[in-house]
Amino acid sequence: MEEVPHDCPGTGSAQAGRGASCQGCPNQRLCASGVGAAPDPAIEEIKEKMKTVKHKILVLSGKGGVGKSTFSAHLAHGLAEDENTQVALLDIDICGPSIPKIMGLEGEQVHQSGSGWSPVFLEDNLGVMSVGFLLSSPDDAVIWRGPKKNGMIKQFLRDVDWGEVDYLIVDTPPGTSDEHLSVVQYLAAARIDGAVIITTPQEVSLQDVRKEISFCRKVRLPVLGVVENMSGFVCPNCKKESQIFPPTTGGAEVMCQDLQIPLLGRVPLDPHIGKSCDKGQSFMIDAPDSPATLAYRSIIQKIQELCSLHQPKEETLTSS
């Protein structure tokens, strides 16, 4: 019976394709030919490109639908409120690119210039890139296997002319697969400040998020902290609170204590958030007094503080 090798030695290893665990793997021949061994020249090219980008933050989850894109968009909005801060938002969810809609940029196109692809600018200091801008219809499906998705991510990192950027925020799809491996690999030489992990309170989310944190540790990606989204709902009518997604195992707080990772904050459910995202507007501007806005702003501030602890020339910090 054909076994999937759990102890894959790694495509870049000397044992690639030759190890005992390689027998029966669909990639065996490819690995044995030595193709995986040479480093991808794009990594150096991307390192050069990223020299003008001060801070890089990945927004991850593991679980779908917890609010990664919502958070990425609002992190970008929040940071860009200071006109002197240059912000870039890169959406590497190739199959489900939500960022154009959430940023109110649906239908925009990407232009090419001599220096590469131009991001779509929402403001002078806020540029956005997504595969969504390359599709001609909202019904177009991107039915691509891993290698093609990886190629797109490489192009986004290498060929987009981001210019001088203070914060590059990378929004990711759920999971721990091609997109995640690729973005970490391609940015390997360029130093990522860290990952912000999004979850909701219930165990079905946390169980995937723990896997994501395990992924971060495996690839030595520092975890800046966790954001717990959809943390309670206050009825607009009677003002009483309900736990729609109950924290049956203690929510993000207990998980963070167990894994010794900072809990950056909790954001309650607010029906305005979904509406603002659907309209492509900043929820923090639409509902400035909402407890959710206050929570977002506090989290954004913490992220800025954590990033400012990292000086550009320092070694990458590993998570505890």
């Binding site: 054909e2 990639n27 917890v66 019904d139 499906a141 709902f233 009825c235 009518n237 009483k240 109950p246």
Partner: protein, 271 residues
């Protein structure tokens, strides 16, 4: 019946239903689970194949975490949820040494495991096999469809939430279905409003109307709206049988009606 590699382990399965979305976190695993429970209550034998390799949610929803997969002469034995063996499961969740272990695999390795799930699991005789998928339109979806094609799946249930951001992704999934020739049984709108348990006011937390509008736009049946219900979330967390425990829940009628539509489409036949 041994010489040919076909008909294979799915020959004893009468109907295969895929549960798709495109968007993450809309309730595919929830709908897969509740559909299986409702079909069981209608006296059917159901299997669930969980092809979400990075985020396998199905084991926990049946309180089956930590169970092991055994081998028999004809292949892998699925994990039975009950003594009557009315619901059986297969998920990568059962193959992990530790529950927090991340499955960090690229496409080809995921494809290989999915092929094994389809060809090597000894499902036996089932009325329905429900296939729970991860979000997207990528390796897992293509591998699953390729492997299941010889068995003519009944079709796909496509799950969305009401808001435009979800519908935006789910439109692409409907295109995937069209392009791959997979029939869409219908669209289910999940998280359709929340009725406050304190004052009974209904709030559209994730907007409203998107699911029905999407079904209309795509020319496919709209199967119903399932409201948010903390009892449903909690029972999934704890692996309870929601259909049995909470027949008075606001989510119950919609979930039951979806199962009923499937049953009506697939009347029992004389073989």
């Amino acid at each position: 019946m041994e010489a040919a590699a076909e008909p294979g382990h799915l020959a004893g399965i009468r109907h295969i239903i895929l549960v798709l979305s495109g968007k993450g976190g809309v309730g595919k695993s929830t709908i897969s689970t509740e559909l299986a429970l409702a079909l069981r209550h209608a006296g059917k034998k159901v299997g669930i194949l969980d092809v979400d390799l990075c985020g396998p949610s199905i084991p926990r929803m049946f309180r089956a975490q930590g169970r092991a997969v055994h081998q028999c002469d004809s292949g892998w034995v699925p994990v039975f949820v009950d003594q009557e063996q009315s619901i059986s499961l297969m998920s990568v969740g059962f193959l992990l040494e530790k529950p927090d272990e991340a499955v960090v695999w690229r496409g080809p390795k995921k494809n290989a495991l999915i092929k094994q799930f389809v060809s090597d699991v000894a499902w036996g005789q089932l009325d329905y096999l429900v296939v729970d998928t991860p979000p997207g339109t990528s390796d897992e979806h293509m591998a699953t469809l390729e492997a299941l094609r010889p068995y003519s799946p009944l079709g796909a249930l496509v799950v969305t939430t009401p808001q435009a951001v979800s519908v935006g992704d789910v439109r692409r999934e409907l295109t995937f279905c069209r392009k791959t020739g997979l029939r869409v049984i219908g669209v289910v709108e999940n998280m359709s409003g929340f009725v406050c348990p304190h004052c009974a006011e209904c709030t559209s937390i994730f907007s409203r109307g998107g699911g029905e509008e999407l079904a209309r736009h795509a020319g496919v049946p709209f199967l119903g709206s399932v409201p948010l219900d903390p009892q449903l979330t909690r029972s999934l967390e704890e692996g309870q049988d929601f259909i049995q425990e909470f027949p008075k829940s606001p989510a119950f009628p919609a979930l039951f009606s979806i199962a009923q539509k499937i049953l009506n489409e697939t009347p029992a036949q004389l073989s």
